[in-house]
């Protein structure tokens, strides 16, 4: 983690113009003094382009605040609620006096705390559906029964674990609440660096600044994922990153890579890279080498864990790496700020920071090769809130995208190219299998996204179950493989109007007329619903979605009364207008939303 002092952070914050970023309202419910965490929260928010406003509930007023004690603490404007319930304050018996309690007294405390958790969570939910990050109970560093604890099934450790499991399951039942494990921060820092017992006694503030920074950065891993700011692609240098030494000079047998020191550090680093790959991170190579030297290592080195198949695209040449990273982004059809670049050279790292600041850079310090694996694991930049089956296949799917791009060059005209892809489309209503992926697309899609509204799984469930809205997805398959769910449309119905609340497509599948088919089929559904005369499409400009500004206009909608005061554009469509689908490109269009009698599943 970054080793920044508070004064550096405060100076950084005061120098930066936070007002240009969207506000992010954080409310903290707590039974400890926690005010010193505020600058760290604001700093972490700034890193992902948010202007955090932090409000604190009353000290030890978690329950009262949850059920509506303080007026403006929890509201529909709240974006995130941090809950801290330290056991020492919640139950001084369980935390500090455990050995004096009888079995029935312990049970009574457990029951009381479980009720408390249930009531606080339902109290919060009556006021807001916002993201809840609830910090679990820390395990005692010196548990009550000493060495006996590890032999007992009803000791203090077991009791606290039991409470944590209960809390986890409660949060799991809620679609927008997550368990933050403080024990991870505690283990990473060690108790002496995590707790400041002086301020615990003087002011009931238990944590050191280092701990607060680590906790804030852990919280922002969730927020980053929720806001779709998590990274998608890891671009790797080769020499002195994937292996020790320079393959062009040291040769295949001269590079350091293997089960023993010093090659073991690179071996572990590769294991960490594959961990990320298995979680859906796309791998790319960006290095200065002769390409055949690199592939020789991949094919022939016995301890090379990463195989050619894991790599989706490469730029192995002698050009500058800024140009190469831009090419990688283009090949994969992703934005530069979705890429994390790893290099050992200070020169390359500074070049990228200067020329392509959108790319996140991790510098691997040559003197600390043993820590490369940990440095990569600690960044948390790729963390996601859920792992869908699409994620696990992502590398393969993007590889197919790169193959499609190559394939395209063989065709004289686009139409014959589209036809040769043998695209099959499936359009259906959201269901329990598709909702996690739908929420994920809503949170992550930036470019082809007309309104960029971010929804959680809970939101999608609500829309899907309501009579006043439809949630529709589109799946795509072609000769290169199954792309899975690649687009989402959310229709909301008001009086005689059907409003396109959300219309988005994954950038992977752009340029294949899929958006047009999707729009046509959803308009057919609106017509079939019968009660609605016009469809309304809106465009909310962001830094990334200018390509869809004219999407509705180009597809038969008319712009309504341009409002000079806002940059939002509004378009309308009379449902009686005749539709002209470009279905000739597609091998098959299975629009299930328009097939069933009732409309919904």
């Amino acid at each position: 983690m970054i080793g920044l002092s508070l004064s550096e952070i405060q100076e950084y914050l005061s120098r930066s113009d936070l007002s240009k970023f969207p506000e992010f309202q954080v409310s903290v419910l707590r039974n400890i003094m926690l005010e010193p965490i505020e600058p760290y929260l604001r700093y972490m928010a700034y890193q992902i382009g948010l202007n955090a406003q932090v409000k604190f509930g009353g000290y030890d007023n978690v329950f009262q605040d949850a059920v509506g004690g303080k007026d403006d603490l929890l509201s529909k404007n709240t974006d995130c609620i941090l809950v801290f319930t330290k056991l020492d304050t919640l139950s001084s018996g369980l935390a500090r006096n455990f050995t004096a309690l009888s079995a029935s007294e312990i049970q009574a405390e457990i029951d009381r705390i479980k009720d408390y958790i249930t009531n606080v969570l339902s109290g919060i939910r009556k006021q807001t559906a916002a993201l809840v990050l609830w910090h679990g109970f820390e395990l005692p560093v010196y548990p009550a029964f000493g060495i006996l604890e590890s032999q007992k099934s009803n000791g203090q450790l077991a009791t606290i674990n039991n409470l944590n499991e209960f809390l986890k399951s409660k949060l799991n039942d809620d679609k927008n609440a997550y368990f933050v494990d403080l024990n991870l921060s505690l283990v990473r820092l060690g108790a002496n660096r995590f707790y400041d017992s002086r301020y615990w006694h003087i002011g009931r503030a238990p944590f050191t600044r280092e701990a607060l920074l680590d906790i804030a950065s852990e919280e922002f891993k969730f927020i980053r994922a929720l806001k779709g700011k998590n990274k998608k692609c890891l671009a790797l240098d080769c020499d002195n990153v994937l292996w020790g030494g320079i393959v062009g000079e040291d040769g295949l047998s001269g590079i350091k890579l293997g089960k023993t020191y010093p090659g073991s550090a690179y071996y572990e680093f590769q294991q960490e890279v594959l961990n990320l790959h298995n979680r859906g991170v796309i791998l790319a190579l960006c290095s200065r080498n002769n390409e055949e030297d690199v592939w020789e290592v991949f094919k022939k080195h016995p301890d090379m864990l990463i195989k050619q198949d894991h790599i989706t695209t490469t730029q192995i040449n002698w050009r500058d790496k800024a140009t190469n990273l831009k090419q990688i982004a283009w090949d994969l059809n992703i934005a530069l700020d979705s890429i994390v670049f790893v290099d050992d050279s200070e020169f390359e790292v500074n070049l990228i920071r200067k020329c392509v600041p959108e790319v996140e850079v991790i510098h691997m310090p040559p003197a600390r090769t043993e820590e490369f694996g940990n440095i990569l694991a600690s960044c948390g930049l790729f963390d996601t809130l859920a792992l869908s089956s699409e994620d696990k296949k992502r590398g393969v799917m993007y590889k197919a995208e790169a193959a499609r791009k190559k394939f395209l060059t063989q065709f004289a005209d686009l139409e014959s190219y589209y036809k040769s892809l043998e695209m099959e489309i499936d359009i259906g209503f959201a269901d329990e299998f598709s909702i996690p992926r739908i929420a994920q697309l809503s949170q992550k899609t930036n470019q082809f996204n007309l309104t960029t509204r971010r929804y959680s799984e809970a939101d999608i469930w609500t829309f899907s179950n309501s009579d006043k809205s439809d949630v529709i997805y589109i799946r795509l398959k072609d000769i290169f493989g199954d792309s899975g769910i690649v687009g989402v449309c959310i229709l909301k119905y008001e009086d005689e109007k059907a409003i396109f609340d959300t219309f988005l497509l994954s950038c992977r599948v752009l340029g294949r007329c899929i958006e047009e088919v999707f729009l046509v089929e959803t308009l057919k559904l609106v017509k079939k619903r019968g009660a609605y005369k016009v469809a309304i499409g809106e465009y909310y400009p962001t830094r990334k979605n200018s390509q869809v500004e004219l999407f509705y206009k180009n597809n038969g909608f008319e712009e309504v009364e341009p409002d000079r005061k806002t940059t939002t554009k509004k378009f309308q469509y009379n449902v009686e207008t005749k539709l002209k689908p470009k279905s000739s490109f597609f091998k098959k269009i299975n629009a299930r939303i328009n097939q069933s009698e009732k409309g919904k599943r």
């Binding site: 002092s5 508070l6 004064s7 405060q10 003094m33 005010e35 010193p36 002086r198 301020y199 006694h201 003087i202 002011g203 503030a205 600044r209």
Partner: protein
């Protein structure tokens, strides 16, 4: 030493340096409450590379005492 302390106090208490002197304390500086006092102590520890005891923390309630406490700890 005095200037460095006052600079830290000024930053934490969000109060101009000109308005601070050795007599400044929670009684004379409006924003000097218990939370900012905690931040002040942590900032002083960071600035001077020292560590105060709990007893010292609760007594360091004006700039003069802060300077004296620091003098005992910092070898100049």
């Amino acid at each position: 030493m005095k200037n460095r302390v006052i600079k830290v106090v000024s930053g934490i208490m969000d109060t101009p340096i000109e308005k601070l002197d050795e007599e400044s304390s929670p009684d004379t500086v409006e924003k000097w409450d218990s939370i900012r006092h905690m931040n002040l102590i942590l900032a002083l520890e960071e600035e001077f590379g020292v560590c105060f005891s709990g007893e010292e923390i609760v007594e360091m309630l004006n700039v003069q005492i802060i300077i004296e406490t620091l003098r005992e700890k910092v070898v100049q």
